[in-house]
């Protein structure tokens, strides 16, 4: 069964058709790339899937359940996490506090108990802190755990954004430009971690402009332009698609210089 399925999904902003009619199926354990020129509707699709904006038509299914009309926090609770394009963090908290906050969902302690901070609550908070530290280690941020998130270098902020999303214990994660603005070494490290996510059983859907990173990491790639799907398949298939080449370069030459 498909993990994530978009059926005929679309969004209009006034008379502008941001996303026309997208059908997309992501299988469990896959790393799927979503590419397309600037303004082609990639981030809008993310916002539609995670409930940040309501779609104009179509529906979203996650694990067979219709999540089209759910608010963002309810989508997150079902195991579908996301990151944001511009580094989106709790900037005035430390890296560790960020991830602890993101572990919120697991605390499963009622408001009343949170208020009184019973021994059990404290034990859970300790466990959550431990888990948060593990996640930071996984993303290679352990030694920066106590620095303010807003003062971290860009690459680390991106990594922290992913740690935050991972802290919700997702089955699937949507990454919006995870390596944007990173140098080649950081990019390689991040893509390597994304592959390790897949090994942990987390399905990945990522939007990225760094073609080399996308082509070398993703199992399958979907390319969209002007809100329409124009190609789907392996890196090789997408690269050789005439539509993709035209979309990116106006039809002059190949997109992918692998």
């Amino acid at each position: 069964m498909a993990l994530l399925q978009l059926k005929n999904l679309g969004k209009d902003f006034g008379r502008l058709v941001a996303v026309n009619r997208i059908d997309l199926t992501v299988e469990p354990g896959e790393i799927r790339g979503l590419i397309g020129p600037n303004g082609s509707g990639k981030t809008t699709i993310f916002n539609l899937i995670t409930g940040f904006i309501p779609p104009s038509r179509g529906s979203v299914f996650f694990q067979g359940e219709d999540i089209t009309d759910l608010p963002p926090h309810a989508v997150a609770r079902r195991g579908l996490a996301r990151t944001f394009q511009l580094t989106t963090l709790f900037k005035e908290m430390t890296a560790l506090e960020n991830v602890v906050m993101a572990c919120h969902l697991h605390l499963r302690v009622g408001l009343w108990r949170q208020f009184w901070r019973t021994a059990r609550t404290r034990r859970r908070e300790k466990a959550v802190e431990f888990r948060a530290m593990e996640l930071l280690e996984f993303m290679g941020m352990a030694e920066r755990a106590n620095e303010l998130a807003g003062e971290l270098p860009h690459g680390h902020q991106c990594a922290l954004g992913i740690s935050n999303a991972l802290a919700t214990n997702p089955k699937m994660i949507l990454l919006d430009e995870p390596v944007g603005g990173m140098n080649p070494t950081e990019t390689a490290q991040t893509m390597d971690r994304i592959r390790r996510l897949r090994d942990l059983g987390i399905t990945v859907l990522l939007v990225e402009h760094d073609m080399k990173a996308v082509m070398s990491t993703c199992d399958r790639i979907t390319c969209i332009n002007f809100g329409n799907k124009i190609a789907e398949g392996t890196a090789r298939d997408v690269c050789s698609s005439q539509d993709v080449i035209e979309a990116y370069l106006g039809g002059t030459s190949g997109v992918c210089s692998l």
């Binding site: 996301r82 944001f84 989106t88 963090l89 906050m101 208020f115 935050n164």
Partner: protein
């Protein structure tokens, strides 16, 4: 358990020490000042509950202009309950707080869906329409003249709570209790969640936090304490009138909070205490007080936008330099 408490006390000795000194000062204070000044202190305590509960709401990111009317809700509720229905003060106190909370809960349903400027305007409209209800409905709210004959709280017959000093202690105990609860809340995960929402609402949503719910929660809890402040006010003044809860009071609240700062728990308290002392000092210049307050608020926003609480940080480097000059290690 006992061992843990002991360890806690030893670990936090300095902090607890200061608190005890403060407590002692507050206990002897009414005997050191004139009767009129005790009345001022009582109102100050009530205002402290008001600003701290206001800050509680601001931690989720919105500055509620309905806070003073929420205090009015508590005041009107206790007037109706005690003077109208003969309910004892001690039962009316939590009930009236709850009445404000219920009203806030209903209002928060639409309010929590607005942010920034829209929240500002919407909360003002909601609050002021409440106040207009009290003005327009002669029954049960008494219209412009409000409600009078609010009884003095009953206590052991040997204590007369209509006198300023006993009432001061009543207000002190209730204020301390309210601050304790709100401090606890601020430091709990609920408080952290509020702050997370104000830092980044979208990120909070994506992490599974029900932002609307937490905003409603903060608004409701904050209004509960505003209601309690209203109860203390009503039973001290023995009367409530709608004019007390108008925009001028809201403006004062904003001035206190801007002057003190909202980032820390103690910031707004600092603001209201300093400005209350200042306005008492300036009593002879009565006509000038609003102008002086206006000037203070403008200067605050220009020169230290974080409020009084930010001054500490600002002087730390300077202090370090002085210490360094004196041959000490700089503090970190």
């Amino acid at each position: 358990m006992i061992r843990r408490i002991l360890v806690y006390i030893v670990d936090n000795f300095r902090w607890i020490g200061w608190l005890m000194i403060l407590g002692a000062v507050l206990i002897v204070l009414p005997y050191m000042v004139r009767t009129y000044q005790v009345e001022v202190l009582i109102l100050l305590l009530i205002d402290i509950i008001l600003v701290v509960s206001f800050r509680l709401i601001t931690t989720t990111g919105g500055w509620s202009l309905a806070h003073v009317p929420m205090m009015g809700c508590g005041a009107y509720a206790t007037a109706l309950l005690t003077a109208g229905l003969g309910v004892p003060f001690w039962i009316s106190l939590p009930l009236s707080g709850l009445a404000a909370a219920v009203m806030a809960f209903i209002l928060s349903y639409p309010l929590a869906r607005t942010t920034g400027f829209a929240f500002f305007v919407a909360s003002f409209a909601a609050g002021d329409s409440l106040r207009l209800c009290w003005t327009r409905f002669k029954t049960p709210f008494g219209g412009h003249k409000g409600l009078t004959n609010i009884p003095v709280p009953e206590f052991f017959s040997s204590v007369d709570l209509s006198a300023p000093i006993p009432y001061y202690y009543l207000a002190l105990v209730i204020t301390a209790l309210c601050l304790l609860i709100m401090f606890r809340l601020d430091r709990s995960r609920i408080g952290h969640t509020f702050k997370a929402i104000s830092m980044n609402a979208d990120l909070s949503r994506s992490l599974g936090i029900n932002v609307t719910f937490y905003k409603m929660l903060a608004f409701t809890i904050g209004s509960f304490f505003a209601g309690v402040a209203g109860v203390l006010l009503a039973h001290r003044l023995w009367a409530v009138v709608p004019a007390q809860f108008g925009f001028v009071t809201t403006l004062y609240l904003l001035v206190w909070v801007v002057f003190g700062g909202t980032r820390t728990f103690h910031g707004p308290i600092l603001g209201v205490v300093v400005l209350t002392f200042l306005s008492e000092l300036l009593k002879p210049l009565f006509e000038w007080v609003p102008m002086i307050f206006g000037t203070i608020i403008i200067l605050t926003l220009i020169f230290f936008p974080e409020g009084l609480e930010g001054l500490g940080h600002r002087f730390t480097p300077w202090l370090d330099r002085q210490r360094f000059a004196a041959g000490d290690e700089p503090r970190h």
